[in-house]
Amino acid sequence: MKIHEFQAKEIFSRYSIPVTKETVCYTTDEVCTASERLGYPVVVKAQVHAGGRGKAGGVKLARTLDDAKNAANQILGMDIKGYTVEKVLVAQGVKFNKEFYVGMTIDRNTKSVLFMASKEGGVEIEEVAKDNPEAILKFPIDPELGMAPFLARKIAFQLFDDFSLVKQGADLFQKLYKIFLDTDSSLVEINPLVITDDGNLLALDGKMNFDDNALFRQKEIEALNEPTEDEKKEIQAKESGLTYIRLDGNIGCMVNGAGLAMASMDVIKHFGGQPANFLDIGGSSNPQKVIDAMNLLTSDKNVKVIMINIFGGITRCDDVAKGLVTALEQLKMDIPIVIRLSGTNAEEGLRIIASQNLPVVGSLSEAAQEAIRLVNAM
């Protein structure tokens, strides 16, 4: 789950990490009022759950009321990577010397929180990672030790020359680590972290993502969620026990298991087709799940054919087949379906489906090819 810059910085503030003076605004009028109050220059920044807003024109400096008004008019309502800008952050312009990057994420290899820092802040860290990976310092944090004062200081010594900044930095890193743990973050970033003209550290921007698996114990964070339409669908699917991600193709997929679902999409692509979605219905023969899944698929107008790929494991294929038949009887849909069953009791399952005059195929490759043929025939 993602939150906006202004929300991340509100959390930083609560932990006494210095951030810019700023106000979130929903209208041009609000932007003007806020700018007048903060004093010029101000920076007007789009608040959307997408990166690269600077390049997209979603960040503008305003030196006058007119500037601020123009910026607000341009940014509010703008589309950034499919997200419509509904609010902007108006932040006091700050004079600064240097820009740093600091961030934390989960490192799969060391199985720990990874603290990252770079003297090359202010640009997208992915670019630094690509062009000059040595410029990013990485410190896996032993969970037993946490961000011990000495460790925070050790990191700070590698970033800052001045001892007063080392002390400020060490303090800030400890707070940031505490935020990460307290909120079950999956990503926390300050980019840039700047040295102001009066020699203090300040978080000019902030980014936080959270571990979806931990939201049950992070009610305050969960309340900040602003899902897009697609994400709302994904959440709704989750509530029915389905994992759904919409894509741009036209072959709807319904599969049990995430890995098999990915592989099914890959096979469609391999034979020249375009999957319309990722959909994992999990391990159950409950007809209701199939109905919910079908409703999800057919609500996407791009879907021209549905390919069902079930591997019977513990759940037997004949049970799944019965569920499918019941579901399809209730649905009465006119989108063609290709069904592929394999695994435990597959023959019995296929017999049940065939007896209902539903089209079945023998292998995943054949299923994909048949689905593509059907789409192309339309």
Partner: protein, 290 residues
């Protein structure tokens, strides 16, 4: 031989009285797995499928000598169950639960490392040594005793691969579902080492997916340490960046973790990567016939 488990392995089920725990305990027992105890706080003294239930892992281990534990516990408290297993004397923990908070896994893996306890999962289907012991939620009937070692981040995809291998007459020594979470227990490198050292394993199938760089690291490990034939498959070639494909760990972040990178890593060291699942047994037979 085999890796990690065999017919003598004494297994404990944490969460045995729950719906999933009870159901799969029955399945494991039917397969022949030596389930010796269950744990369910407050249900000590009961039995499930004739298996005695204890209040704590420590009690169960003391009474039965179990060395392996499989966990069917709701995700919010599964991390604590892993810690209990390690503290209670278990040597290998298999955590089936899906949705365990990542920071709970960070804490658990650190503690288990200190204790010298092995972990598989969380969010995994478990493992099987065909004909001897199945500890997980795997459909035992599709497996066949043999000499292919298999490891995979995915469940049903594994079943598909295994059934293709079995149909092609290629039995398995041990198959391990390592799970789909970003922070998990045993991973490719450790398992590759075990398979390499296992006399009963002749060749290895590695099933990967998008997200992280475990496959790239596995390729590096194979290059340096593995002399047995290896065939790979990577799921998620069509997955869009920034989206979690079901598994918490299956996400392409900041342009890394993509299937292309992983396929290239294997092919650059001469490990063939199947483009279609059906190619796996074909490639394996080619390698074995060399």
């Amino acid at each position: 031989m085999s890796i990690l488990i065999n017919k003598d392995t004494k297994v404990l089920v944490q969460g045995i009285t729950g719906r999933d725990g009870s159901f799969h305990t029955g399945k494991m027992k039917d397969y022949g797995t030596n389930i010796v105890a269950g744990v369910s706080p407050g249900k000590g003294g009961q039995t499930v499928h004739d298996i005695p239930v204890f209040n704590t892992v420590e009690d169960a281990v003391k009474a039965t000598g179990a060395t392996v534990s499989i966990i069917f516990i709701p995700a919010p408290i599964a991390g604590d169950a892993i810690l209990e297993a390690a503290d209670g004397g278990i040597k290998l923990v298999i955590c089936i639960s899906e949705g365990v908070p990542t920071l709970d896994m960070v804490k658990a893996t650190a503690y288990l490392k200190k204790k010298g306890v092995q972990l598989i999962g969380a969010n995994c289907p478990g493992l099987i040594t065909p004909g001897e012991s199945m500890i997980g939620i795997l459909p035992g009937n599709i497996f066949k005793k043999g000499n292919i070692g298999l490891m995979s981040r995915s469940g049903t995809l594994t079943y598909l691969m295994v059934s293709l291998l079995t149909q092609a007459g290629l039995g398995q020594s041990t198959c391990v579902g390592i799970g789909g979470d970003p922070v998990a227990g045993l991973y490719y490198e450790e398992l590759l080492e075990m398979f390499q050292n296992d006399p009963e394993t002749e060749a290895i199938v590695l099933i990967g997916e998008i997200g992280g760089d475990a496959e790239e690291r596995a390729a590096q490990y194979i290059k340096n340490h593995v002399t047995k034939p290896v065939v790979a498959f990577i799921a998620g070639q069509t997955a869009p960046p920034g989206k979690r494909m079901g598994h918490a760990g299956a996400i392409i972040s900041s342009g890394s973790g993509s299937a292309e990178e992983k396929i290239a890593a294997f092919e650059s060291i001469g490990v063939p990567v199947a483009r279609l699942p059906i190619d796996i047994p074909k490639l394996m037979k080619e390698l074995l016939s060399k």
